[in-house]
């Protein structure tokens, strides 16, 4: 077994460990009670959930994101890069067969994602509030993912980085359920509860709100 194949097995193991760990988290949370809301509806919880995942995520939908538009868009770009990196990992055995334009697009998205990640990492270190809020896990997670995306971008472009890419993929994915990165799972829970709560009360979506 050569180094490349070994690293690919590692990446596969990391992916499986990550998926299993996230599934365990999901199952543990789902085992907990979910209080049924029997209060009479004013609005529509389903509409609220739809809003929470669509218009409610738009940068103009909240005062916080309007105030910090650049920081929010940086975060969005960073997360697009992360999901692209996961996609790139899954299709990595076929990179050689992909059209050049697609490979170039992958490199660009991953490269931008890693730059935005690095900006986030620097902000965590330098910005007063972020530094005060951050725990070691936050710093580690943002730099781990940033380096992983950067190496992904290089690996799409140059095979010499493939081993490093697979090893970093293994570490990142295996770490996913253990630390801060697992908020990727709870994002879905959280926005769903948000949508149900405010949707039921006809607060969101509400055409007249937030004027």
């Amino acid at each position: 077994m050569n180094m490349l194949m070994f690293s690919q097995f590692l990446a596969l193991a990391g992916l499986l460990a990550g998926v299993y760990g996230i599934y365990r988290r999901y199952a543990e949370t789902k085992r907990r009670a979910l209080p049924a809301d029997k209060s009479p509806l004013k609005g529509n919880p389903q509409h609220g959930v739809t809003y929470a995942f669509t218009l409610g995520m738009m940068p103009w939908a909240k005062e916080s994101t309007r105030l910090h538009m650049i920081a929010y868009l940086r975060g969005i770009g960073f997360h697009i890069g992360i999901f692209t990196a996961i996609g790139a990992l899954i299709v990595s055995p076929f990179w050689g067969f992909l059209p050049a334009v697609l490979n170039l697009s992958l490199t660009v998205v991953l490269g931008i994602g890693s730059l935005l990640g690095a900006a986030g990492g620097v902000m965590r270190l330098t910005e007063h509030n972020l530094r005060g809020l951050s725990i070691p896990d936050d710093h580690f997670a943002v730099w781990l993912v940033t380096v992983w995306m950067a190496v992904s971008a290089l690996a799409v472009w140059n095979e010499a980085f493939l081993v490093a890419f697979y090893i970093l993929s293994a570490i990142t994915l295996a770490y996913m359920p253990l630390g801060k990165i697992r908020h990727c799972l709870y994002f879905f829970f959280s926005r769903t509860f948000f949508g149900k709560f405010f949707g039921r009360r006809a607060v969101f979506p509400h055409p007249e709100t937030a004027k």
Binding site: Y72, I135, S190, A210
Partner: protein, 441 residues
């Protein structure tokens, strides 16, 4: 581990359902919630960021529930709960968060920070760390429910006096305030004090409503304590009363937390025994005006009027357009604060804070963003449809020299009804009469 800590952790465990675990897990510590909080706006420091506050509970949760945190606590900030930490958590949850949910609305992930603050409040209540006055008020209400006969005669006597006033104001010799009348459509639940009985009585009589007055008050301090058993015991008085009288609907006085709890929580607490429609008095006013059941003068209030959205009524309750509908029918110069509605800034009086004298200074400081908002409107009259908000804005009025009058919505509606005599003992009365009048009669 001491018994207190054991009890605190047991209380946390008992509350750990899907929404709470999600709130504890989802935060990415991006800090975007900072300016959403009125405490941070008033005094921008890390400790006032909602994410920082919730992180204090997360540290305890992680120590108990997270593998990595148990192995390397320093990596995630995990912390074993001790008496000092519990006391600090309790003080924070009662004095630095009004449970307004503005941070939730502004969080890109929708993290429900107030849910975590409620969890801490529950831990504090269970272990005797909650503010004593809130416990006393909740327990007094529960006792009152056990034996209302103790004060009922006195209450009825006061109501008879109020009835005389009502007839005098309205010029209607048949105007009445029925108490615990059997089989009416509406059971109106006031707050403590004539100011939440007389003005609604004027409106109900004018609308020829089939109504009766509850002998209990709508306020529920068990809600502030995040003590479901106490909150249920307080609410049960009214649920039982409504069942006993066979009413169809419960109408809650202008009160944020009472409306939010009876409209959204009580139906869950008393599933199967609670078939009543719950409305706020605000909704009833809007209906009466819309249906022509009461006549109001659209030019009655020419002064600049602004409306403060109570967090429990608007963001947490969904009552956003109804008060505006009413105000637009009785004022000629209505001015919105910015931001408003679901994005409205908390006045700083919610979550039981106005009852906690030990935090007055902190409460007034945290109310500065609201005071600034009011100032910017240039309005002379501030309408707040929540008793706690009115008390807080009243204090802000003095503290920040706002020079405004703060009034309930119903008082203003009664003014717009152009009765033969003014409604005594309300701020709305002063809009038209006497020393410091804002509007010419």
């Amino acid at each position: 581990m001491t018994e207190t800590i054991e009890l605190a952790l047991k209380t946390l465990e008992a509350q750990l359902n899907q929404p709470l675990e999600t709130a504890l897990e989802a935060c990415a510590r991006c800090g975007l919630c900072a300016e959403a909080c009125h405490y941070y706006r008033a005094e921008p420091k890390v400790e006032h960021i909602p994410a920082y506050r919730s992180e204090q509970l997360r540290n305890v949760y992680r120590y108990e529930h997270d593998f990595l945190s148990r192995v390397f606590p320093a990596w995630t900030g995990a912390k074993k709960l001790d008496e000092v930490t519990l006391a600090n958590l309790s003080e924070m949850a009662y004095s630095q968060c009004t449970l307004c949910r503005r941070c939730t609305v502004n969080c890109p992930l929708g993290v429900d920070t107030p849910l975590m603050m409620r969890a801490i409040r529950a831990m504090a209540t269970a272990t005797g760390n909650a503010p004593e006055i809130l416990v006393m008020l909740a327990d007094a209400a529960i006792e009152k429910g056990k034996d209302p006969s103790f004060y009922k005669d006195m209450f009825l006597e006061q109501i008879r006096e109020m009835e005389e006033q009502l007839r005098d104001i309205t010029g209607d010799p048949n105007a009445s305030i029925p108490v615990e009348k059997q089989g009416t459509k509406i059971l109106y639940v006031p707050l403590a004090g004539a100011h939440t009985i007389l003005p609604p009585a004027v409106v109900f009589n004018a609308a020829k409503e089939d109504w009766t007055l509850s002998i209990f008050e709508a306020a529920n301090y068990g809600v502030f304590l995040a003590d479901v058993n106490r909150a249920k015991a307080v609410a049960k008085r009214i649920v039982d009363e409504a069942n006993r009288l066979g009413v169809k609907e419960i109408v809650i006085a202008e009160c944020g937390h009472a409306y939010a709890s009876y409209r959204w929580d009580v139906p869950n607490w008393f599933a199967g025994q609670f078939d009543f429609k719950v409305r706020s008095l605000i909704e009833v006013l809007a209906e009466y005006i819309r249906d022509g059941k009461i006549k109001v003068d659209p030019t009655a209030i020419p002064e600049g009027v602004t409306y403060h959205d109570s967090c429990n009524l608007a963001r947490n309750g969904g009552l956003i357009e109804e008060p505006r509908y009413v105000l637009n029918k009785i004022t000629t110069d209505f001015r919105e604060m910015t931001p408003n509605k679901a994005e409205a800034i908390c006045c700083g009086g919610g979550g039981g804070l106005v009852a906690l004298a030990e935090y007055t200074e902190r409460r007034l400081a945290a109310g500065k963003p609201k005071a600034d908002q009011i100032k910017k409107t240039g309005a002379r009259v501030v309408v707040a449809a929540c008793e706690n908000c009115r008390l807080q804005i009243g204090d802000l009025n003095e503290h920040y020299n706002l020079n405004v009058r703060i009034t309930a919505l119903t008082d203003l509606v009664v003014r717009a009804m152009r009765l033969p005599k003014p409604l005594p003992g309300t701020e709305a009365e002063h809009l038209f009469e006497g020393e410091g009048a804002l509007v010419e009669k």
